[in-house]
C-alpha cells in the first residue's frame, strides 16, 4: 500500500514537472526551427537558429529594446535599493512614535492597485512633459520613476534591519562616524545578503514590467523587451521562430539570475513575509 502511494507521488510530481518545464523546452526547440515547423508542432531541434537570430536582429529593434530594458532595470535596481534601505534603516534605527505612524501610512500604499493610479500618473507625466521633457512622457525616466519608491522595499529592509546588530551603530558612533557614515560604511557592507535578495526582486520586477511602460513609452525606439515581444506576438504575419528567439532572449537574464543566485532568490521571497 505504501509502495503504491509512493509510485503515485512520483508519477504526479513527474507530470507536474513536465507540465512546468514543457513551455521552456518548446521555446528552446522552436528558436531553432522555421516558422512553418513551429506551427506544424515540430518537437525536434532544427538548424535555423542562426537564421532566426539574424532575422531578429535585422527585422526587429531587439538591440534597442534590450538596451532600454537593461538601462531601466539597472537604474531602477540601484535607486530602489538605496532609497528603500535608507528608509527601512531610518524607520528601525531612529524609531519614534511619529515615524511609526508614518510607516503604517506608507505601508497602506501596498494595497493600492497599479491600475487605480495609472491614469493620474499618466496625466502627471503629461504635465511634467511641458516643463521637463527629459522626464516627461515617452522617456525612459518616466518608465522607472514611479517604480523606484515602493512600500514593499521599505518594509523589506525594515524587517531585515531588525536582525542588524544595534551595537554596531553604537560602535560606529564611538569611533566618531557620522550617522550617514554608519549607514554607508557599516550597515551596507554588513547587509550584503539582504541587498542581494532585494536586487533580484527589483531587477526582475523592472525587467518584466509591462503595463506602465506600455502606457508611458510610445515611440518604437523607446520600447522595452516586454513591449517588443507583445508587439511581435500580436503581429498579423508572425514569424514564430523569430518570436521564440526573442522570448528566449527575454527570459535568459531572469533565468540566469535565478540559477546563479537561487539562495538569495528564496531569501528575498521569504524576506517579504516574515515579521
Amino acid at each position: 500500500m505504501k509502495k503504491i502511494k509512493r509510485v503515485f507521488t512520483y508519477i504526479f510530481l513527474s507530470i507536474a514537472s513536465l507540465v512546468s518545464i514543457f513551455p521552456f523546452l518548446w521555446m528552446l526547440i522552436s528558436m531553432t526551427n522555421k516558422s512553418v515547423d513551429v506551427t506544424a508542432g515540430r518537437l525536434l531541434p532544427g538548424g535555423h537558429l542562426i537564421e532566426n537570430i539574424n532575422k531578429l536582429i535585422e527585422q526587429t529593434q531587439i538591440g534597442i529594446a534590450l538596451w532600454n530594458s537593461f538601462i531601466i532595470a539597472i537604474i531602477t535596481t540601484i535607486l530602489t535599493l538605496l532609497i528603500g534601505s535608507l528608509a527601512g534603516y531610518g524607520f528601525e534605527i531612529y524609531r519614534s512614535k511619529g515615524k511609526d505612524m508614518i510607516f503604517s501610512i506608507l505601508i497602506l500604499s501596498m494595497m493600492i492597485p497599479f491600475a487605480a493610479i495609472m491614469i493620474p500618473l499618466y496625466r502627471l507625466f503629461g504635465r511634467i512633459s511641458a516643463d521637463a521633457p527629459f522626464i516627461g512622457l515617452d522617456t525612459l525616466a518616466a518608465a522607472f520613476l514611479p517604480t523606484i519608491i515602493t512600500a514593499f522595499f521599505i518594509f523589506f529592509f525594515r524587517q531585515n534591519t531588525k536582525m542588524f546588530a544595534r551595537e554596531l551603530v553604537e560602535a560606529g558612533r564611538i569611533d566618531g562616524l557620522s550617522e550617514w557614515g554608519i549607514f554607508f560604511r557599516i550597515y551596507m557592507p554588513t547587509m550584503k545578503t539582504t541587498y542581494a535578495a532585494a536586487s533580484i526582486i527589483a531587477f526582475m520586477n523592472s525587467w518584466n514590467n509591462y503595463l506602465w511602460p506600455l502606457v508611458v513609452l510610445q515611440s518604437p525606439e523607446k520600447q522595452t523587451i516586454p513591449l517588443l515581444i507583445s508587439n511581435l506576438g500580436a503581429g498579423y504575419t508572425p514569424d514564430y521562430g523569430v518570436i521564440m528567439t526573442a522570448i528566449v532572449v527575454a527570459t535568459l537574464p531572469t533565468a540566469l539570475v535565478f540559477f546563479l543566485m537561487q539562495r538569495y532568490f528564496v531569501a528575498g521571497m521569504m524576506g517579504s513575509v516574515k515579521g
Binding site: I83, I93, S109, A116, G233
Partner: protein, 304 residues
C-alpha cells in the same frame, strides 16, 4: 554650585544628541515619504477627483457621481467585473490547493529527486508575464500543441477552440495563471513546512490519523498565516490581471475574457479617451481590494 552645573550640562547633551539623531532619522525616510506621496497617494486623490468628471480627452467637467451610476448600466463593465471575480474565485483556490499538495509531497524527507521537482515546478515563476502569455497563446491555438496532444491521446475528437470560444478562453486564462504562479506559492509553503516540528506528525500517525487528517488538522492550521498572506497577494494580483489577458486573448472573443484592468486601459488608451470614467472603474478595483483583504482577514480570524 559648579557641581550642579556640570550635571545639568551632562544631562543636556544626550537630549540634544537624541533630538539631532531623531532629526537625521527623518532625513533617512524623507525621500520615501515624498516618493510614495507623489506616486501613490496624490494619484489616488487625483483618481477620485477624476472619477467625478466626464468628457473626452482633456475637456473634463464635474458631473458628480454620474460616472458611478453609469457603471451599473455599462454591460462591458459588468462583464469585466464578472470575469475578474470569476478568475479570482476559481483560480486562486485551485492554485493554493495545488501548491499546498506539492509542498506537502515535497516536504517528505525520504522523497528522491526533491531538488529537481522543486526547481522544475518553481521555474515558471522566473518568466516574464508577457513572454509566457505569448507562448501560451501559441500552445493553445487551434492547431496548437495542446490540441495535437489531446487528439493524439484520443481524449477529444476535434480541436477545442481554446482561444475563440468564450468558455474555453476563460479556461485558458485560468490554466495560464495557474501554471505561472503555483510554484511561486509552493515555495512559501515549503519554507513554512520546514519549520514544523516533525514529531507532531509522528504523534498523529501513532494516534492513527490518516494522511488526509494530518493534512487538514495539522498542516493547514499551521500554515494558516502564510496561506492568508499568499491568498491576499494572489487576490490583489488577480484583481489587477492585465498582461496575460492582453497578450493571450486581447480580452476576446467579444469581451468574454476582459478584466477590469484591461477595461481601464481600453477606456483610457484604446477607445476615445474618457479618463473620468476610467478613473471611476479603477476605484472599483481599489474598493474590491480593500473589501476582499478585509474579508480574508476576518475569515482567517487574525486580529493582527
Amino acid at each position: 554650585m559648579s557641581q550642579s552645573i556640570n550635571t545639568t550640562s551632562n544631562q543636556k547633551k544626550p537630549i540634544l544628541q537624541r533630538l539631532k539623531r531623531n532629526y537625521i532619522g527623518w532625513l533617512f525616510i524623507l525621500l520615501s515619504i515624498i516618493g510614495i506621496s507623489l506616486f501613490y497617494f496624490y494619484p489616488m486623490i487625483q483618481a477620485f477627483l477624476l472619477s467625478l468628471q466626464s468628457g473626452m480627452g482633456a475637456n473634463l467637467d464635474y458631473v458628480g457621481f454620474d460616472n458611478y451610476v453609469r457603471l451599473f448600466n455599462d454591460p462591458t463593465f459588468i462583464t469585466a467585473l464578472t470575469n475578474t471575480v470569476l478568475y479570482l474565485l476559481i483560480q486562486v483556490p485551485v492554485m493554493i490547493v495545488l501548491a499546498l499538495i506539492f509542498s506537502v509531497l515535497l516536504n517528505d524527507p525520504t522523497l528522491k529527486f526533491k531538488g529537481f521537482f522543486r526547481t522544475a515546478i518553481f521555474l515558471p515563476a522566473v518568466t516574464s508575464l508577457v513572454a509566457y502569455a505569448v507562448i501560451f497563446k501559441y500552445l493553445f491555438g487551434n492547431n496548437g500543441l495542446v490540441n495535437d496532444f489531446l487528439i493524439n491521446l484520443n481524449l477529444i475528437s476535434s480541436p477545442i477552440a481554446w482561444l475563440s470560444d468564450p468558455f474555453w478562453a476563460k479556461v485558458t486564462i485560468i490554466i495560464a495563471i495557474t501554471w505561472r504562479w503555483t510554484g511561486y506559492n509552493m515555495i512559501f509553503y515549503l519554507s513554512a513546512l520546514q519549520n514544523v516540528d516533525r514529531s507532531m506528525y509522528e504523534a498523529a500517525r501513532i494516534d492513527g490519523a490518516s494522511a488526509f487528517q494530518q493534512f487538514f488538522f495539522i498542516t493547514i492550521p499551521l500554515l494558516k498565516p502564510i496561506i492568508l498572506f499568499t491568498s491576499i497577494v494572489s487576490t490583489i494580483g488577480t484583481l489587477q490581471l492585465f498582461d496575460e489577458v492582453m497578450n493571450i486573448t486581447s480580452g476576446g472573443p467579444g469581451n468574454s475574457t476582459m478584466t477590469i484592468s484591461m477595461y481601464i486601459y481600453n477606456l483610457s488608451f484604446e477607445y476615445t479617451p474618457d479618463f473620468g470614467y476610467a478613473a471611476t472603474v479603477s476605484y472599483v478595483i481599489l474598493i474590491l481590494v480593500v473589501i476582499l483583504s478585509f474579508i480574508q482577514f476576518k475569515v482567517a480570524g487574525d486580529k493582527e
